[in-house]
Amino acid sequence: MQAKALEEANRQLAICNACRYCEGFCASFQAMTRYRSFDDQSIIHMANLCHNCQACYHSCQYTCPHEFDLNIPKALADVRVESWESHVPGTVIAEKVQSNGWIIALLTVIAAILFGLIGNIPWVSDANFYSLISHNSLVAVFTPLFIGPLLVLFMGLYRYWDTVGGEWIGWNDLSVAFKAAGTMKNLDGGMGQGCNYEKSDRYSQTRKWAHHATMYGFLLCFAATSVATIMHYGFGLEAPYPFLSLPKLLGVSGGILLTLGTTKLLYLKMKSDPKLGVSDRRSGEYGFILILWLVSTSGLLLYWLGGTAAAGAMLNIHLASIAAFFVTLPYTKMAHGFFRLAALIREAQLSKA
């Protein structure tokens, strides 16, 4: 990792540690009180616990123009994003993807063209899903697209675990961490009043709900695909499935949640103050939200258009966006979910002592 972000976070955290007024907001500050001074390990840990709720900025008596110039949300965001980029293999690619939203858009277009060619997708409709693209070519394309990036991501997580001094993970650590992640505990401001993301110094619950919709929508879509795979291979039940089937129910509800959630997140990001977020990575963050939005929205439209002339085109877009999402997975903001979970597990271990 580069020293600059760490140094700046260290400078600021030393001031916080003499103050501690923000102790009640989140796990980052509770972790802080365990240290007298900070090393790279502790800073990276606190940075990955931080949810960028921005409460500690608006509550701080030392923000610019004060000479202490505190901006903890930004300082931790810079360390956090750098920590993902530096821990996954392919740091240079990560930096590029994180800072250029158009890369993911370009990949989507390229994938769409490629699918058009290899899948030979006829631009006419047919009632049968697999007459549009064969199931086997789908599997052939998507298995490596899925496994490869996940492997890269997990290598990054493995290294991260070493950096933060992680120990053997127990059930209790997992349950504490999943509970915090599942409820977005660290985005509730400590007393359930919400975060300061889009409304300046007023608290709001909107980001938490938008994130819940996005996260649970994504998980439902993921569950839909998993269930469909099991039905396909385990029971020989092939798509298309009727509406009242598990894959469809999960997929449609997940898709709706994901579309609504990402739409709202996009809106919130536009209203948020760039000065309190990570430096030079806003474009990549937009790119990431947009690709998630495109995955779910094209999926929903595909379902809705089924049987019409536009379905082929929509399928192409849907598959291309999924491909772009997966290839870039370790290199986009998607990393935050995994690193955050790792940080929460580590925090569960550390706070036990």
């Binding site: 003499a18 007024y21 009640g24 907001f25 007298r36 202490f68 007393m191 007023r202």
Partner: protein
């Protein structure tokens, strides 16, 4: 940085009492806790309110933005407050620190009302948090604001916004026009433009005069030039001075201020809470000649930290140096600036710019006077020096284990005691007769209750209680005269 005080423009002749329309019911002067509580209460009572805050928006909230808690009476465990803290115990605590220099009826009013303030503050959007780590001793008596005083101030400004109160930043009140105890209007400089604004009533809540170094110098002599101001640079006291000159009754000793010893590298203003250095009880404190001058271990730190400002202020060049060794390095709250560190006393003295021989001699004598015994950092352990002048009566352990650490200490002024004398309605008086429509709240009148000393968290209690009273009274008066 000190700020510039606008001067009344003599060419403008803006002040025309009785002329022009009265747009506002209540004008609130100041933008800290007391002013905000007053403005909220006045607006809630239906008054049309104008709040004039001298600071820019990002620095709004005076010293209140630096606070962390308020002291609160309660009969049973209440929210984040444990056990009970009853009126008599609270009042006893106040008597101890003020040595009786208080107005009992006002003090008891503040104490009794503090309980309902807790719920009122919650209803205004303030959140509380458990006692901060390292402050467990306060968990029964003091309710900590989640995010500290600036979060509280933000909540109140948002409330004003919801209530439709007009707030002006960079608005310095230069003259409060009162004739025959009747307030008419204020002359205010808003972003460089001066105007005269009239109202039916006024609440004065512009804090003390601790940021006016000239005033401090008149009270303290040249020593004041080396003082650091812990809070806002905006509390220069011109409103206080303006009305005292016009015959408002005063309380509190003009030569006194509350000062603690803080890190000598702190900014001149607004360093706030982080500049404190809590190592004194485990240290020896030297002056610039390398001599000790006071018992560093007289009592536990929360009971003694407030005398060290004064002690350091009376040393040459108003500076002190706290020296500890490796044994004590982790016994106190982390400091904002890292300590000067060296492997020998001589080296440390040199780095701190102290006379090496004198420091070595003092430390040697101190070490020789230390006795065997059990050391307990969190309680009075009686581990005292023998035959040393001045003695160190607790936690006296030899300074002998490298590395050695040193902190430069300077007096940091928290607030001043001089203020308006008010009654139980927070009404200001002139020659012992109540003004018709002038109220005061917060530090600007706290001297009535805190004649000397300080009780942690009581400043915010006084501001909240009397701010609310003043706002309500002013609004009620305005509604009758409108």
């Amino acid at each position: 940085m000190p700020i510039e005080i606008p001067k009344i423009d003599p060419n403008l002749e803006l002040i025309r009492p009785g002329e022009g329309s009265v747009i506002y019911d209540v004008i609130v002067v100041g933008g800290g806790n007391a002013a905000l509580c007053a403005a909220i209460r006045a607006a809630e009572s239906g008054a049309k309110v104008l709040l004039l805050e001298r600071a820019r928006r990002s620095y709004r909230g005076g010293n209140s933005r630096h606070t962390r808690n308020f002291r609160c009476m309660h009969q049973v465990p209440k929210g984040v407050l444990t056990n009970a803290y009853l009126e008599d115990e609270f009042f006893e605590d106040l008597l101890k620190v003020t040595k009786g220099n208080t107005d009992e009826s006002l003090a008891r009013l503040a104490i009794r009302s503090s309980e309902e303030c807790y719920d009122w503050m919650l209803s205004q959007g303030v959140y509380f948090q458990e006692s901060l780590s390292g402050t467990l001793s306060l968990s029964r008596t003091n309710a900590f604001f989640l995010g500290g005083g600036k979060a509280l101030v933000n909540a109140y400004y948002n409330r004003l916004d919801d209530l439709g109160v007009d707030v002006r930043y960079l608005a310095t009140v230069l003259d409060v026009v009162v004739q025959d105890r009747v307030f008419d209007g204020v002359l205010v400089d808003i972003k460089g433009e001066q105007s005269y604004i009239r109202a039916h009533a006024v609440v004065l809540a512009s804090g003390g005069f601790e940021s006016d170094k000239e005033w401090l110098t008149r009270a303290w002599g040249d020593a004041a030039k080396n003082f650091l101001i812990r809070g806002t640079p905006y509390n220069t006291g011109e409103v206080l001075k303006n009305l005292l000159d016009k015959g408002a009754d005063q309380v509190g000793d003009p030569t006194q201020c509350h000062a603690v010893a803080i890190d000598g590298r702190a900014p001149e203003y607004d360093g706030g809470i982080v500049t404190r250095v809590d190592c004194v009880p485990f240290s020896v404190v030297l002056n610039k000649n390398g001599e000790r001058f006071y018992d560093e271990g007289e009592d536990v730190w929360p009971k003694r930290y407030a005398i060290w400002g004064r002690l350091v202020a009376s040393q040459p060049d108003q500076v002190g140096y706290a020296i500890i060794d490796q044994k004590s390095h982790s016994l106190f709250m982390p400091t904002v600036f890292t300590a000067t560190k060296a492997d020998s006393i001589a080296e440390l003295a040199e780095q701190l710019g102290l006379p090496v021989k004198a420091v070595e001699k003092t430390i040697w004598e101190f070490n020789a006077a230390c006795q065997e015994g059990a050391f307990h950092p969190t309680e009075l352990d009686g581990l005292s020096t023998k035959e040393l002048e001045p003695a160190k009566t607790n936690w006296a352990r030899p300074i002998d284990t490298a590395p050695f650490y040193g902190y430069e200490l300077r007096p940091g002024v928290t607030f001043t005691y001089l203020g308006f004398k008010v009654d139980g309605d927070a009404r200001v008086s002139f020659s012992n007769e109540r003004a018709t429509n002038v109220w005061a709240a917060g530090e600007i009148m706290a001297g009535s209750i805190l004649g000397e000393g300080y009780l942690a968290g009581f400043g915010m209690t006084i501001g909240t209680v009397f701010g609310r009273i003043a706002g309500k009274e002013a609004a009620d008066y305005a509604s009758q005269s409108a």
